[in-house]
C-alpha cells in the first residue's frame, strides 16, 4: 500500500512539472516575488538546520500515518517535501524562474482522483489544481521520468537512475541544487559531469558563478582530471616540463598572465632564475677542481646563491654567476646574504673570506667586525664547518650577550675566553673548577695559575 502511494506521488510530480512547463509564463511571477521563502545559503541560522530535520521527520510520519491531521499535511508540497525545508526552498527558488502563476492552471477539484493520499494534500498546499483528463494522460509518461529529489535519492543510494530527462536548463539546475542540498559531494560531481556534457561552457560557468559549492566541486573535478587551467594552476604546469629550455620558455609565457603585483614579481624571478641557472650550468669548467653532487638547475634562489658563493666567489658584479650579481638581481637581504656566503666560505675553510664578510672600516681606517646576524649564530655555523679554535675564539669573543658568550666558550673549548670571562667576573671558584678540567702545565692551566696567584685581583669568592 505504502509503495503504491509512493509511486502515485512520483507520477504526480512528473505531471506537475510538465504541466507547469507547458503553461510557463516567466514574466508573471508575482506569487514568487511575494513568497517569503528564501534561497538556501550556508551561513543561515541554526534554525533552518533543525527545521530541516524536523520537517524531514514530519514528511516521514505523513507517509506512514494515513490519518494525519489535515493541518499538518498542509505543510507538504507536491513533491512530498515539507514546505519551508531547505531542499524545498531551494527548489522553489529555482523553479520560480520558469513557473507561471496559479491562475493559469485549470481549476478542478482534486479530491476525487487522488482521494486522501499525501500527494493530494500537497497539491492543495500550493493551490495548484489539476484537470483530471490531463492528469491521466500525463500519468502515462515513462516511469523513469523522475523528479530531481527522487533522482538524487536514487543516485545517493546507488540505484539505477537516468539524467537524460533533465533537458531544460531549469531542470538541470534543479537537479544540481537538489544534489547540493543533500551535501553529497559524490552526487554533486556526478550531476556536474552530466552538465558538462550537456551544456556549453559559457552557460555552465554562468550558472556555477552563483553556486559556490557546486563551483568548487566542478573546479576540483577538472583539477583531478587535469583539465583545469586557472591562473596559478597554469603556472603550476611548469612542474611537468622536464626540459629546462622549454620550461624556461613556458615560464616566460607566464609573465604576461594577470597575477597580483606581488605574485608577478615572484613569477618574474622564477623565469630570471632559471634563465640564469641555465647560463651558469653551461659554464661548468670549474668542476674539474671541485666535483659537484648535483646540478643547480631548478634549485631555489638561496641554493643558487650558495652555489655561486662556493664556485664563483670574487667574480665581478658584471658576471651573471657572481654572488653580488645574484644578490642584486633577486633583492636578497644583507642578513640572508651573509648567512649564505658564510656557510659556503666556511665549508671551503676560507677563513680569510669569512673574516672579510664581517669587517667594516671606520673613518680612521680601523677594522671592526659587525654582523646582521647574532655572533652566536656565526659561531654555530663556523663550528658546524669544523673551524679551528683560533677562528672560533675570535667570534665567540664578539658575542654580545655575556651568558651566550660564556656558554659558547665552554661548548667550543675557547679557554682564553672562558678564563677572561671568569676573571672579569672575579669568580675565583669557577676558575678553580675550570682549571681542573685542563691539562696540567698547558698554557691555559698556567694562565689560570698566574691569575689565582695574582694578589692584585679582588676576588668575589
Amino acid at each position: 500500500m505504502d509503495k503504491q502511494r509512493m509511486k502515485l506521488q512520483l507520477h504526480l510530480c512528473v505531471c506537475v512539472c510538465v504541466f507547469q512547463m507547458t503553461r510557463a509564463k516567466p514574466e508573471d511571477d508575482e506569487y514568487w516575488n511575494s513568497s517569503k521563502f528564501k534561497a538556501f545559503t550556508f551561513d543561515d541560522e541554526d534554525d533552518e538546520f533543525s527545521q530541516l530535520k524536523e520537517s524531514k521527520r514530519a514528511v516521514n510520519s505523513i507517509l506512514v500515518d494515513e490519518d494525519e491531521d489535515e493541518d499538518d499535511v498542509e505543510r507538504v508540497s507536491w513533491s512530498g517535501e515539507p514546505v519551508g525545508s531547505i531542499s524545498w526552498s531551494v527548489k522553489e527558488t529555482a523553479s520560480s524562474i520558469r513557473s507561471g502563476s496559479e491562475q493559469s492552471f485549470p481549476k478542478i477539484d482534486t479530491t476525487p482522483s487522488l482521494s486522501k493520499q499525501g500527494s493530494g494534500y500537497s497539491l492543495s498546499s500550493l493551490s495548484i489544481v489539476v484537470d483530471s483528463p490531463i492528469w491521466f494522460c500525463l500519468c502515462s509518461l515513462s516511469k523513469d521520468d523522475l523528479s530531481p529529489e527522487e533522482t538524487v535519492r536514487r543516485m545517493q543510494k546507488g540505484r539505477p537512475f537516468s539524467l537524460e530527462k533533465f533537458r531544460s536548463l531549469q531542470d538541470k539546475l534543479l537537479l544540481l541544487d537538489e544534489a547540493v542540498a543533500v551535501y553529497d559531494g559524490n552526487v554533486i560531481t556526478a550531476v556536474l559531469i552530466f552538465l558538462k556534457k550537456s551544456l556549453s561552457k559559457e552557460i555552465l560557468f554562468r550558472e556555477l558563478m552563483a553556486r559556490d559549492v557546486a563551483l568548487r566541486h566542478y573546479v576540483h573535478y577538472l583539477k583531478e582530471m587535469g583539465e583545469q587551467k586557472l591562473l596559478l594552476m597554469h603556472y603550476k604546469e611548469h612542474l611537468n616540463i622536464k626540459d629546462e629550455g622549454r620550461r624556461r620558455d613556458f615560464l616566460k609565457s607566464c609573465l604576461s598572465l594577470p597575477f597580483s603585483q606581488d605574485d608577478a614579481t615572484h613569477v618574474q624571478d622564477h623565469y630570471t632564475l632559471l634563465e640564469r641557472q641555465i647560463i651558469i650550468e653551461a659554464d661548468a669548467e670549474i668542476f674539474k677542481k671541485f666535483p659537484r653532487k648535483a646540478s643547480i638547475l631548478n634549485m631555489p634562489i638561496i641554493t643558487t646563491l650558495y652555489y655561486s658563493c662556493f664556485y664563483h666567489y670574487g667574480e665581478s658584479e658584471g658576471t651573471f654567476s657572481s654572488p653580488s650579481n645574484i644578490r642584486k638581481t633577486f633583492r636578497i637581504s644583507e642578513k640572508q646574504y651573509i648567512l649564505t656566503a658564510l656557510g659556503a666560505r666556511a665549508k671551503l675553510k676560507s677563513w680569510f673570506d669569512v673574516d672579510s664578510l664581517f669587517n667594516t672600516k671606520n673613518w680612521l681606517g680601523y677594522t671592526k667586525k659587525k654582523s646582521p646576524i647574532g655572533f652566536h649564530r656565526v659561531v654555530d655555523i663556523l663550528h658546524k664547518n669544523s673551524a679551528p679554535v683560533q677562528v672560533l675564539q675570535e667570534y665567540v669573543n664578539l658575542i654580545d650577550d655575556p651568558d651566550l658568550k660564556l656558554s659558547g666558550a665552554l661548548k667550543y673549548k675557547c679557554h682564553d675566553v672562558v678564563i677572561n670571562t671568569y676573571r672579569d667576573l672575579k669568580d675565583r671558584q669557577q676558575l678553580i673548577v675550570y682549571r681542573e678540567k685542563l691539562e696540567r702545565d698547558s698554557p691555559e692551566y698556567r694562565k689560570i695559575q698566574e691569575l689565582l696567584n695574582n694578589v692584585q685581583i679582588r676576588w668575589k669568592n
Partner: protein
C-alpha cells in the same frame, strides 16, 4: 601516572567486531569472482588491509598474485589486454565507496562494461581500543581546501555503522560546517534504515571540524606517542624504527597500541618523564630475572613456564622504547629544538612577537626544515590573526627564495584556508593614524603604524585563549609528572582548543553560555537530543574529528576522561600532525 586504570571507568565496546565485518565483506566480494584471481591493491590501502586480513586469508579465497597499483594503470591494463586479444575478467572494488566520477573515467577510457565494479564498505579501521580511523587522509584537503564534499556521506555512513552495531546515541553536539553536514547526512541515513531500539553503548557524540582549531595540530608534540609520530611517523598504528633505534643494522616494524604493555604506560606521558619511567622499569625487569638465582629445579620450571616468556617480551619492548627515547633525546635536546619550542610558546602566549618573527626569518634564511618554517609562519598568522602586510610580503619573499618559487601555490592554498594571511588594515584606523601622525615626527609614525595595525587585528585566538583560559599564566610552576590539566600535553603551555571546547560543552550539556566563543569560531554549532538513557553508556563519549586529529589531542582527552570518570572514543578521518597537515597543502611538485 596517566596510565593507571581508574576504578569506575566504564568498559569500552569491542571494536574488533568492525574488523570482522570488514573482513567478511571483503571475503564475500572475493567469492563473487570464483576461481584464481590476481589482486591489485592501491598503495594507500595496503596498511589498512594488513590490519584486517593477511595473505593467508586472501590465498584461501583463491587470490593468486598481489600487485601494488599506482594511479590509473588498471584502465591501461584492460586496454592492453583488449588490444592483445587476451580475455580476462576484471572487477574494480572501490572502498569505502564508489564515486560516479570514477565510473566516468572508465566510460571515457572505453572500458566501462568490460570491467565490473563493486563497493567494499570498509568505513572504519579500529587502530586501538579507543581510536577508530576512517583512514582518509585526503579528507582534509578535499573538504577544507577544495570544498569537495565527497566524503561527507562517508563520514555519515561511518557513524551509522557505529550506531547499527553499537546502539544509538542520546545526545549529539557539534561545531563546524562539515560537522553539520555530516550530522545531517547521518540523520538522513538513519531515517532511511530500520530503527533499532537497542540500549545505547555511547552516550554522547561530539563532531568537530579540523578548521575550528588549527593551532593545536601545528604545535610540536611532546607527549611520547605524539613525539614518536612527529619523528618516526606512525602509519596505521604501526611504526618503523630504524637502525639508530634498534642498535642493529636493520629496521623493525612495531605495532603501537594498548597491547604493548610498555608503550601503553608511557604513550600519554610528557616526554621528560619517559626516561625515568623506562629506567625504573628496566630495574624491575632485572629484579624479576634475578629471581632465578637460588631457585630449585621445580621453581625454575615454573618460572620458565609462567614468567620467562612475559619477561622476554617485556624486555624486547623495553629495549625498543629505550632506543626510541634515546634517538628522540638526541634530536630533541639540541639547542635548535629548544629554541623552536620557546618560539612556539611565545606565539601561543602572544609574547615577544618581534623576536619570534626574527627567529622565523632566520629559520627560513638558514634553509632548515621547509615544513617547520611553514608551520611557524602559520602559527604566527593564526595566533596574531594574520601578519602585518610588510611582514607577510617579506617573509613570503624570503620563503620563496629559500625553498623555491613554486611554493607560490602553497601560499595561495594557505591563504585560502586562512592558515597564513595578510592583515587588511582597517580604514578607520588609517584615518586616525594619519591624524595622530601629523602630531609626531616621522620615526614615531612608523612605530605608530605598527601599534595601530596591531589594534586592527580581530585577534580571535588571543580572545579565545583568554576566554577559555587556554594559556596558563606564565611564571607558575607546572609539574609535568603530576599534570593538573590538559595543558600538560604541551608542557603546560597550552590547553588544546579542540579538547577545551569538548570539555566545556560536555560540562554545560550544550553551548549555552558559550555564545561569545562560538561567535569567534564563526558559529555553526549545534546540539541535538536524540534519546534519553540512564545507563553506564552515559559516560562514553564519541568524538569525531573531521579532517584529522593528533595524538596530543587523544592524550588530552584520555586525561580529561580520567578526571571526569568517563571514557572518550576518538573517531577521526585520519591521524594527523603538523607535517601531514601542511604537506596536504603543499603544491610544489607536479
Amino acid at each position: 601516572m596517566a596510565h593507571t586504570e581508574w576504578k569506575d571507568a566504564p568498559g569500552l565496546p569491542d571494536f574488533s567486531l568492525l574488523k570482522r565485518l570488514a573482513r567478511d565483506q571483503l571475503i564475500f566480494l572475493l567469492e563473487q569472482l570464483p576461481g584464481k584471481k590476481d589482486l591489485f591493491i592501491d598503495a594507500d590501502l595496503m596498511s589498512p588491509l594488513d590490519r584486517i586480513a593477511n595473505v593467508t586469508i586472501l590465498k584461501q579465497h583463491e587470490v593468486d598474485k598481489l600487485y601494488k597499483v599506482e594511479l590509473k594503470p588498471i584502465v591501461n591494463l584492460v586496454n592492453a589486454d583488449k588490444v592483445a586479444g587476451r580475455f580476462r575478467r576484471y572487477k574494480i572494488i572501490f572502498t569505502p565507496q564508489k564515486f560516479y566520477a570514477c565510473e566516468t573515467v572508465l566510460e571515457e577510457q572505453g572500458v566501462y562494461g568490460d570491467v565490473t565494479t563493486d563497493e567494499w564498505n570498509f568505513y572504519i579501521l579500529p587502530l586501538d581500543d579507543d581510536i577508530l580511523s576512517l583512514e582518509l587522509p585526503e579528507f582534509f584537503r578535499d573538504n577544507f581546501l577544495e570544498g569537495d564534499q565527497r566524503w561527507v556521506t562517508t563520514a555519515g555512513s561511518a557513524l551509522r555503522l557505529l550506531q547499527s552495531v553499537y546502539g544509538s546515541f542520546s545526545k549529539v553536539y557539534g561545531i563546524g560546517r562539515c560537522a553539520k553536514m555530516v550530522y545531517e547526512s547521518w540523520r538522513e541515513l538513519m531515517e532511511d534504515g530500520e530503527q533499532r531500539t537497542r540500549q545505547p553503548e555511547f552516550a554522547k557524540v561530539f563532531l568537530v571540524d579540523r578548521d575550528v582549531d588549527f593551532v593545536t595540530p601545528l604545535c610540536s608534540q611532546v607527549v611520547y606517542e605524539g613525539l614518536v609520530d612527529d619523528l618516526f611517523r606512525i602509519k596505521c598504528g604501526s611504526v618503523e624504527f630504524g637502525p639508530d633505534v634498534t642498535s642493529s643494522d636493520k629496521s623493525i616494524k612495531v605495532m603501537l597500541n594498548s597491547q604493548d604493555k610498555v608503550f601503553s604506560e608511557i604513550r600519554n606521558e610528557h616526554f621528560s618523564n619517559v626516561f625515568g619511567f623506562l629506567s625504573q622499569k628496566a630495574k624491575n625487569l632485572q629484579t624479576a630475572y634475578d629471581k632465578r638465582r637460588g631457585m630449585d629445579i621445580q621453581q625454575m620450571k615454573a618460572f620458565v613456564a609462567d614468567e620467562l616468556k612475559g619477561l622476554k617480551q617485556e624486555h624486547r619492548l623495553l629495549s625498543l622504547h629505550i632506543g626510541a627515547s634515546e634517538s628522540m633525546m638526541k634530536k630533541k635536546t639540541k639547542q635548535d629544538f629548544q629554541e623552536l619550542l620557546k618560539t612556539e610558546h611565545s606565539l601561543l602566549e602572544g609574547f615577544e612577537i618581534r623576536e619570534c618573527i626574527t627567529y622565523i626569518e632566520e629559520h627560513i634564511n638558514r634553509q632548515v626544515s621547509m615544513i617547520d618554517s611553514l608551520r611557524l609562519l602559520c602559527l604566527l598568522s593564526i595566533t596574531e590573526n594574520g601578519l602585518l602586510s610588510k611582514d607577510y610580503r617579506s617573509l613570503k619573499a624570503q620563503y620563496l627564495q629559500s625553498y623555491g618559487i613554486e611554493h607560490l601555490l602553497t601560499f595561495a592554498n594557505l591563504r585560502q584556508l586562512g592558515l597564513l594571511e595578510e592583515q587588511q588594515a582597517g580604514e578607520t584606523l588609517t584615518v586616525m593614524e594619519s591624524k595622530v601622525g601629523k602630531l609626531v615626527n616621522d620615526k614615531t609614525v612608523g612605530k605608530l603604524t605598527d601599534a595601530f595595525s596591531s589594534l586592527a587585528k580581530k585577534s580571535n585566538f588571543r580572545a579565545l585563549s583568554k576566554r577559555l583560559a587556554l594559556v596558563p599564566k606564565s611564571g607558575e610552576e607546572y609539574d609535568l609528572r603530576v599534570p593538573r590539566d590538559m595543558a600538560y600535553v604541551f608542557s603546560g603551555a597550552y590547553i588544546p582548543l579542540s579538547c577545551k571546547l569538548i570539555e566545556q560543552v560536555l560540562e554545560r550539556d550544550g553551548w549555552t553560555g558559550m555564545e561569545e566563543v562560538t561567535r569567534m569560531l564563526n558559529g555553526q554549532e549545534f546540539a541535538v537530543t536524540e534519546a534519553r538513557s540512564k545507563t553506564d553508556a552515559q559516560r562514553i563519549v564519541l568524538v569525531m574529528f573531521l579532517g584529522g586529529c593528533t595524538f596530543s589531542e587523544i592524550s588530552a582527552l584520555r586525561f580529561l576522561g580520567k578526571e571526569r570518570g568517563c571514557r572518550f572514543i576518538v573517531v577521526t578521518t585520519a591521524i594527523t600532525n603538523s607535517s601531514r597537515l601542511l604537506e596536504a597543502l603543499l603544491d610544489n611538485s607536479a
